[in-house]
């Protein structure tokens, strides 16, 4: 069943702002020689600058685009324009009883590809491996990692011995040297964590606390690695992941997943060092579990999409091994379905209890997702807070304009919120006012 996308949802699919503008400008019937919709797809012919119109198709079951235009953007403005036009004037579309041959061919190929991929991933036989070589390489890496982490520990100890008062004025190169050493030592995640230290808000009072929290946590992580065999197995995986070991996707996909109706709560793109990371948070409506999908795109590669915020997909998700599993992969997706308001924590005490529980299992967690009901936004002394029904407050880390937007839509009344908790405060990613879903970009 196709759930029509709103303009905001379509905008999320665009690769950049220029594509949004161009797509919206194509959302006029005058541009389209023909346009039709079927429950599986929509398609149309858009008159461009050339003699022949461009053939544009959108797979509505698992959002995907195809267009005959030469654009290297994906989706191109024609695909977006077709969706925008449907959002604005669905009655202008011809409802087709059957797919046109070329659309049928494309949709079928996509379905066949997806079907072929699933069993392959599930039943993939383990590759023939050079066990000895692998063991040797692992040993070498562990040696490098241990040496690198020892170097980091010395660096951190020197830092606190000499005092951190000069930190706000140091240049990024202060961290770059030690981060480069971490890359050499094959602990890239630690290198990223060190580089991120420069991004803390040093112009604000109280910068010392988040800085200390981060460097002491890095130190604790290096300590934990030294005692790795003594920690519980799930936590061992977390520690290794945080240091820089990757768990292969194929290995994760071999596990049994959780089939549920997953509500897509938020999607965020984060750019760092020529790498774009896409964070997609989901919550399962039946199992009430959160899941984080992470996608990585090197510079120049346009983020893909399959999930639109506010929609609910029926899918099987499989979690990466962890003491507190959150990161997941989509193993199989079946289609879209109507969204309902998920159940939520009643107040911040409940949230904090779960934070304590989570930290007990995995003390290096930096962020945790929660749904919490009966909260309000409050603006006081130029700061925004989220306040629960018992008047307990947490700092709201969203940009100021989003605070005003939430206040405008909620009219100072309590609402249900999807928040990302961090030790510094919470970020509101989406909320519901009278059952209406509002995502925040």
């Amino acid at each position: 069943m196709f759930m029509p996308l709103t303009e905001d949802q379509i905008t999320q699919l665009a690769p950049d702002a220029a594509s949004v503008k161009a797509g919206q400008q194509l959302a006029t019937t005058s541009k389209w020689v023909s346009k039709a919709i079927h429950e599986k797809a929509m398609w149309g012919n858009c008159q461009g600058s050339g003699k022949n119109p461009y053939r544009t198709m959108v797979d509505l079951q698992k959002i995907a685009f195809k267009c005959s235009c030469p654009s290297r953007k994906f989706p191109c403005k024609h695909g977006l324009g077709l969706l925008y036009l449907y959002a604005r004037a669905s009655s202008d579309f011809t409802t087709a009883a059957a797919l046109e041959p070329d659309v049928e061919e494309w949709v079928s190929k996509r379905a066949a590809k997806a079907d072929a991929k699933e069993p392959k991933e599930e039943t993939a036989a383990p590759k023939k491996t050079d066990a000895k070589g692998q063991e040797k390489r692992a040993e070498e890496r562990e040696k490098k990692v241990s040496a690198g982490l020892e170097e980091l520990r010395v660096w951190l100890r020197d830092l606190v011995r000499n005092g951190i008062h000069q930190i706000p004025s140091v240049s990024p190169s202060f961290y770059r040297t030690i981060a480069a050493r971490m890359v050499d030592a094959q602990v890239p995640a630690m290198a990223n964590a060190l580089n991120r230290l420069h991004q803390l808000p040093y112009h604000q009072d109280g910068w010392q606390k988040p800085f200390l929290r981060r460097i002491s946590s890095l130190y604790l992580l290096s300590e934990a690695y030294q005692y790795l065999p003594h920690v519980p197995v799930p936590l061992q995986t977390d520690i290794k992941t945080l240091i820089g070991w990757n768990t292969p996707k194929e290995q994760v996909l071999q596990q049994e997943g959780i089939l549920d109706a997953w509500l897509v709560l938020s999607r965020e793109l984060e750019e760092e060092d020529r790498l774009t990371t896409e964070h997609i948070w989901l919550v399962g409506q039946q199992h009430q579990r959160f899941a984080l999908l992470l996608n990585f795109y090197p510079m120049g590669q346009v983020p893909q999409f399959a999930l639109v915020v506010g929609t609910t997909i029926t899918a099987e998700l499989v979690y990466y091994p962890s003491a507190y599993p959150l990161r997941a992969l989509v193993k199989g997706q079946q289609g879209l379905q109507p969204s309902t308001l998920p159940s939520a924590e009643p107040d911040f005490n409940s949230v904090l209890n779960q934070v304590a529980h989570a930290l007990a299992l995995q003390p290096f967690l930096e962020q945790l997702p929660f749904l919490v009901s009966e909260v309000k936004v409050v603006h006081q002394k130029e700061k925004w807070y989220l306040v629960d029904q018992h008047q307990h407050r947490l700092p709201l880390l969203n940009p100021e304009v989003e605070g005003w937007r939430v206040l405008a839509t909620s009219a100072a009344a309590p609402f249900t919120a999807f928040i990302i908790y961090t030790p510094d405060g919470v970020t509101l990613r989406a909320y519901w006012v009278q059952q209406q879903f509002y995502p925040l970009p």
Binding site: I164, V355, Q391
Partner: protein, 489 residues
């Protein structure tokens, strides 16, 4: 404890080590003790443990703020589709479509959805010209929200009493303009008391704001300003007094015209008689009119001085003057001046008079004469009537003619007229800017869509025509968007 940890970090553990540990920290230190390598190692592990323990057991502060709820909306909300279009116009700075949206939304007495209020209110602060409409479509929720944000409070806060003394120049002008519209007498008193405290340019600008509600009550004050030391201010004052019907200066003008112009009868072909205007060359122009800006001689060759003075004066007499002074109807007046040998001098003065006093009948009479070239007369006529002058003006200057067809009510321009205009602009596509083309599209009817599409789909080799093709494609988009808005609002 936290402060102690931070103190140690700031000074460096070589200088200071946390000494006064809380019971919890002591417990942590004892647990971690056996693994400690040195005091920095101990400090970092203690700090990490402390932050984890603090976070796991944190007590949140309370914040009790009772914000009053916004009043319920009395107007209907626009649809989500209309809201999405508004967002598109705001995001992509589509000013023409935004203006049209405001026009439709205000007319439909609807309110925008709350999620877009931050952008709407921010624009209301930035764009004073749109402020009223933007506030209107913001509804009660917008007013409520604006009160809460210092950046938007100026939108709803009652104008402070001392805004005249302490506001910015723009705020002060706005305050004075509003006061003049609501209470002309009070505005006059305000100027009377404070005008001399302003610099020359400010004095001139404030006086110009008197024009829309000019009345004889203003005359004494304006007359008193004729001694102002600034020539610029004096010229503004003279202009106001000259065009104020029945002011002493205006009466001086009328008296001069009445004395200098005579209606005489002359024979035509020895049989018939006809009336003609005759200019009496010996009637002197009051010196005050020269002080008010009248020129003594024309810059053009072969223009008689007396005729030139009369023509200048005619621009300041009300159209009724001719009936009252000479018993001539407007048709007769225009005809007589059109018969005059120096009609190129006199007819433009009548055009100025018609425009200045917004006299529709005089404008129509003048437009009925082929000799009259003033396209500005169209602005005196209702929009629908302007369309009927296409044959007269369209080919002469299509851009200027179109300018007079575009109005604030978005009155649709007849399709045939649009087609004729398009044909003209296809020959000179750069006569209008892209913004002007878009604005024009908003006064087209849907029947123009196929016409625009036809232009948009043609293949052209010349770069000018390729530009025009793109322009037509864009106009089609704007027109289609307008139709979408009409269906939604």
């Amino acid at each position: 404890m936290e402060a102690d940890l931070i103190k140690a970090a700031m000074l460096g553990t070589s200088q200071y080590v946390p000494s006064q540990l809380s019971p919890l920290a002591k417990e942590l230190q004892q647990t971690l003790g056996p693994t400690n390598e040195d005091k920095e190692d101990a400090y970092l592990k203690l700090t990490a443990g402390f932050f984890l323990v603090s976070e796991a057991g944190q007590q949140l502060p309370e914040l009790t703020v009772q914000l009053p709820s916004p009043p319920a909306e009395t107007r209907l909300y626009i649809t989500t589709e209309a809201n999405a279009l508004l967002r598109q116009f705001l995001r992509h700075k589509e000013d023409n479509l935004l203006e049209y949206f405001l026009f439709r939304c205000v007319a439909a007495q609807k309110t925008v959805l709350p999620e877009i209020l931050p952008e709407v209110l921010s624009m209301a602060v930035e764009k004073k010209a749109r402020q009223e409409a933007l506030l209107q479509i913001s509804g009660h929720r917008g007013q409520w929200l604006a009160q809460l944000n210092p950046a938007w409070q100026t939108l709803v806060a009652p104008e402070e009493e001392n805004v005249w003394e302490t506001g910015t120049w723009e705020q002060r002008k706005r305050y004075f303009k509003n006061l003049r519209a609501r209470q002309p007498e009070q505005a006059l008193t305000l100027l009377h008391n404070h005008l001399q405290e302003e610099n020359t340019n400010a004095r001139a600008e404030l006086l110009e704001l008197l024009y829309p509600n000019l009345s004889l009550n203003d005359e004494p004050f304006l007359t008193s300003l004729l001694t102002d030391k600034s020539q610029k201010v004096k010229q503004v004052v003279y202009q106001l007094l000259l065009q104020l019907p029945q002011s002493r200066l205006n009466q001086l003008v009328q008296a001069y015209v009445k004395a200098a112009v005579q209606v005489k009868e002359e024979r035509v072909l020895l049989l018939a008689k006809r009336k003609v205007f005759n200019i009496h060359p010996d009637v002197p122009v009051p010196e005050e009119l020269f002080a008010a800006g009248f020129e003594k001689t024309s810059s053009q060759k072969n223009v008689d001085d007396a005729e030139y003075w009369v023509s200048q004066a005619m621009a300041y007499v009300e159209p009724e003057f001719w009936q009252n002074s000479f018993g001539l109807s407007l048709v007769e007046t225009v005809q007589l001046w059109a018969n005059h040998a120096s009609k190129p001098l006199f007819l433009p003065s009548l055009v100025q008079s018609a425009v200045r006093y917004q006299h529709r009948e005089l404008a129509q009479t003048l437009l009925s004469k082929k000799e009259v070239t003033g396209m500005e007369l169209l602005q005196v006529l209702p929009v629908a009537e302007r369309f009927t002058y296409a044959d007269r003006f369209l080919e002469e200057n299509p851009a200027l003619y179109l300018h007079f067809l575009l109005d604030d009510t978005y009155a649709p321009i007849p399709t045939k007229l649009n087609q004729r205009l398009l044909q003209q602009f296809a020959l000179k596509p750069y006569a209008l800017t892209q913004q002007q083309y878009q604005r024009w599209a908003l006064q087209m009817e849907a029947t123009m869509l196929p016409v625009l599409q036809q232009y948009a789909q043609q293949e052209y080799q010349e770069y000018q025509m390729r530009f025009f093709r793109n322009v037509c494609a864009d106009m089609a988009r704007v027109l289609h968007t307008k139709e979408q808005l009409n269906a939604l609002l």
